[in-house]
Amino acid sequence: MIRLVLDRFVGMVFTMALVSLLVFLIMELPPGDYADRYAFRKYSGTGVNVTEGDIQAIREDLGLDKPLVFRYVDWIGNIVLYGDFGQAFAFETPVTKVIGDKVWLTLGILFATLIVTYLISIPIGIFAAVNRGSSGDYLLTVFSYLGLALPNFLLALILLYFANRWFGADIGGLMSPAFERAPWSLAKLWDVIAHLWLPAFVLAWSAVAYQLQTVRATMSDELNKLSVTAARARGVPETKLLIKYPARLAINPVVSTIGFDVNRIFSELPIVAAVLGLTELGELLLRAYLDLDMYVAGAILLMLTFAIVFMNFVSDILLAWLDPRIKLGS
C-alpha cells in the first residue's frame, strides 16, 4: 500500500509539472501581452503618441522581454520555492493578494459539493438497487432524470427563491454582509458553511442524478453475485452484508470518477456563481484573460488543474483501498 501511494504520488508530481508547463503555454497563447494592454490603458484618449520603443520599455520593466523558457522557470520556481505567484499587473499587487480568500472559498464550494454529491447519491443509489422495482425506486429514477435534464442555473434561481421565502436565507453571496470585511473567526466560518449548502446543492444536483444511476446499476449487479449469496448463507446480518460486500464494490465507478466530478464542478461553477452572486475564481479568471493579466490567469488555472490532479490521486488511492486486486495488478 505504501509503495502504491508513493508510486502514485510521484506520478502526481510529474503530472503537475507537465500541467504547469501547459498552463504557462496557454497563458502565452492570447495575442499580445500585458505591455500592449498597459500602454493602451494608460495612454488611450490622452493624445500621447506611444511608440514601439515605449512599449518595449514597459515590457522590460515588467520582465516580459525575457525568453519563454526563462520566464517559465522563474515563474514556477518562485511558486514552488516561495509560494510567490508573481505580480497581478492590473491590480498592481501580488497575485496571492488578489486571489486570496477566493481560493479557499472556491475549494470550500468544491468540497462541499463533492460531499453533498456522494452523501446523497451513494446511500440512495444503494437503496434503489436493494428495492429495485419498488415505487420508491421508480420515484427516484424519475427524480434523477429530472436532475439530468434541468440546467442548474435554473435550479439555482428556483432554490434561491424558495430558500429566501421559506427559510429567510440571504439572497446570494457566500457570507452575510456583516462578515464580509471581518477577519476569519469561528462565527464567520459557520456563516460561510450556512451559505455554502445552497451552491453546493445546486452544483451537486446533476452529479447526484448521474452517480445515483451509476450506483444503482453497479449495486444491482453486485447484489446478484454469488459471494453475496454465500455471505448471506453464513448468516451475516443484512445491513452489514450490504455494506461490507456489494456496496464496497458498487461505489468503485463513483470513486474512479471523482476527478471528472471536480472538473465538471469547476466548469459549471462560474454560471452558478454568477446567478448566486458568489465570489469565486472563475469570474476572476475571465477578467484576467480579458486584461491579459497572465500571472493571475496562470495562478488560477494552476490551482484548478492542481485540484483536479490531486483529486485524481486521492481517487486512485481510494480505489486501491476499496479493491485490493488493484495494487497487486501494478
Binding site: 459471494s227 454465500a230 448471506r232 448463507a233 453464513r234 448468516g235 443484512e238 486486486r325 497487486l328
Partner: protein, 336 residues
C-alpha cells in the same frame, strides 16, 4: 434413528413476468446425522431451489406453499420449523451457517474478491462460535489446515485470487465447517474443478463428514460422483423426485426411465467405441410443464393415453426404494 431434517411436500413458486412458475413441486426427503443424501438432476430440475429454500435464500419473488414442511432438529435438540421462519431476522441467521452450512458450485465466485479468505472465515466464526480476535484467527488457521491447505498461517491472509481453484474450494469448505454446522448442503461443489482435484475434494468431504458426524446433502448432475459419496440418492426431474433409494441399488437397477437415461449418458471406458447416449430432448421450461407425467415427452416407454394425461404417484419399488412412474405402478399393482 431420529432424522436431522425432514422435508415434506415442499412446493416453491416464483412470480415472473410470464406468470407463476413452480420449479419445485411436492418434494420430500429425509437426512440423517452422519449420512449423505445425493440429489441428482439436470439444470432446471429444481435441486438448487429446494435446498435454497431450506435456509430461506430464495429471492423475494419466491413463495413457499403453505403446506410445505421443513423440520430441522437443531444441535440444542430444539425442533425448528423452517417454513415458519421469515427471510430475515435472528432466527434464520442463526440457522444459516451455524446449523446448516452451504457450499456453492463456483469456488471463485463464492468468496468476495476484496477480503482475505481469513477475514471471511473469521466472520463466520465470530457470528456462530462467539469467538473473536486471536481465537477466531486460530480456529480459521486450524480449519484451513484441516482441509489440507499447506501453510495455513500464510494462506489465511491471502486473497481468493491468489489461490488455485481446488484450494479455493477447500477454503470454502473450511469456511462452511468453521461455523460448526450439523448439516452441510453442497451444491455441485466439484463441478467446476479438474477431475483429479474433484476426487481429492470428494475424499476430503467424506473424511470430514465421518470425523464431524454431519448430515450432508450433495447436489450434482453427475451420478458417478453420487456413487462415491452418497448412501441414498434422490433423482429429480422438473421439480419432483422421480426415483429414490439406496445409491447402489438405484445405480445397479434404475427403474425410472429418466434414471436409466442418465446412467446411459455417463461416459465409460468400457464402451469407448459406442456413441454416448444422451437423454433425448431437453428439460422443458417450468412455464410449459407437460400434462401428466413431466417426463413423458422424452420417455421411450411412455404409455399413450395414460402418461400424457395423469401424473403417476410415488410407489414402493423394492426395499427402501420408491419410484414415480406408471410402468412401476402397472407392474406393482394387481390388474383390476
Amino acid at each position: 434413528m431420529e432424522p436431522l431434517l425432514t422435508v415434506e411436500n415442499l412446493t416453491v413458486s416464483f412470480r415472473t413476468d410470464e406468470g407463476l412458475i413452480t420449479p419445485v413441486m411436492g418434494v420430500g426427503f429425509t437426512v440423517y446425522k452422519g449420512k449423505t443424501l445425493g440429489l441428482v438432476g439436470e439444470s432446471g430440475s429444481g435441486k438448487s431451489v429446494s435446498t435454497k429454500a431450506l435456509i430461506r435464500l430464495l429471492p423475494g419473488s419466491a413463495r413457499i406453499a403453505p403446506d410445505s414442511r421443513m423440520h430441522y432438529r437443531a444441535k440444542s435438540g430444539e425442533l425448528i420449523k423452517i417454513e415458519t421462519l421469515g427471510n430475515r431476522g435472528p432466527a434464520i441467521r442463526h440457522l444459516r451457517g451455524g446449523e446448516i452450512g452451504m457450499i456453492f458450485q463456483e469456488p471463485m465466485a463464492s468468496f468476495s474478491p476484496v477480503y482475505t479468505i481469513g477475514n471471511q472465515i473469521m466472520e463466520a466464526v465470530r457470528l456462530h462460535r462467539g469467538l473473536s480476535g486471536r481465537q477466531a484467527r486460530t480456529l480459521a488457521v486450524d480449519m484451513l489446515d484441516k482441509v489440507g491447505i499447506s501453510n495455513p498461517r500464510d494462506r489465511v491472509d491471502q486473497y481468493p485470487h491468489e489461490l488455485s481453484g481446488g484450494m479455493r474450494q477447500r477454503a470454502m469448505i473450511a469456511l462452511a465447517l468453521s461455523a460448526g454446522p450439523a448439516l452441510l448442503i453442497a451444491d455441485e461443489p466439484t463441478t467446476a474443478l479438474d477431475v483429479t482435484v474433484q476426487a481429492q475434494v470428494l475424499e476430503l468431504m467424506r473424511g470430514l463428514q465421518d470425523e464431524l458426524g454431519m448430515g450432508l446433502i450433495f447436489i450434482t448432475h453427475d451420478l458417478g460422483v453420487i456413487a462415491q459419496i452418497a448412501e441414498e440418492v434422490a433423482v429429480m426431474y422438473l421439480g419432483t423426485i422421480v426415483e429414490r433409494g439406496p445409491t447402489r441399488a438405484v445405480i445397479r437397477a434404475p427403474q425410472h426411465p429418466y434414471t436409466q437415461g442418465l446412467l446411459r449418458a455417463i461416459p465409460s471406458l468400457d464402451r469407448l467405441n459406442d456413441r454416448l447416449q444422451a437423454v433425448p430432448g431437453d428439460i422443458p421450461s417450468p412455464l410449459e410443464r407437460p400434462t401428466g407425467c413431466g417426463f413423458h415427452p422424452r420417455c421411450p416407454h411412455k404409455i399413450a393415453g395414460l402418461c400424457d394425461t395423469t401424473a403417476p404417484a410415488e410407489t414402493a419399488a423394492g426395499p427402501g426404494r420408491r419410484v414415480r412412474c406408471w410402468l412401476n405402478e402397472e407392474s406393482g399393482r394387481p390388474a383390476a
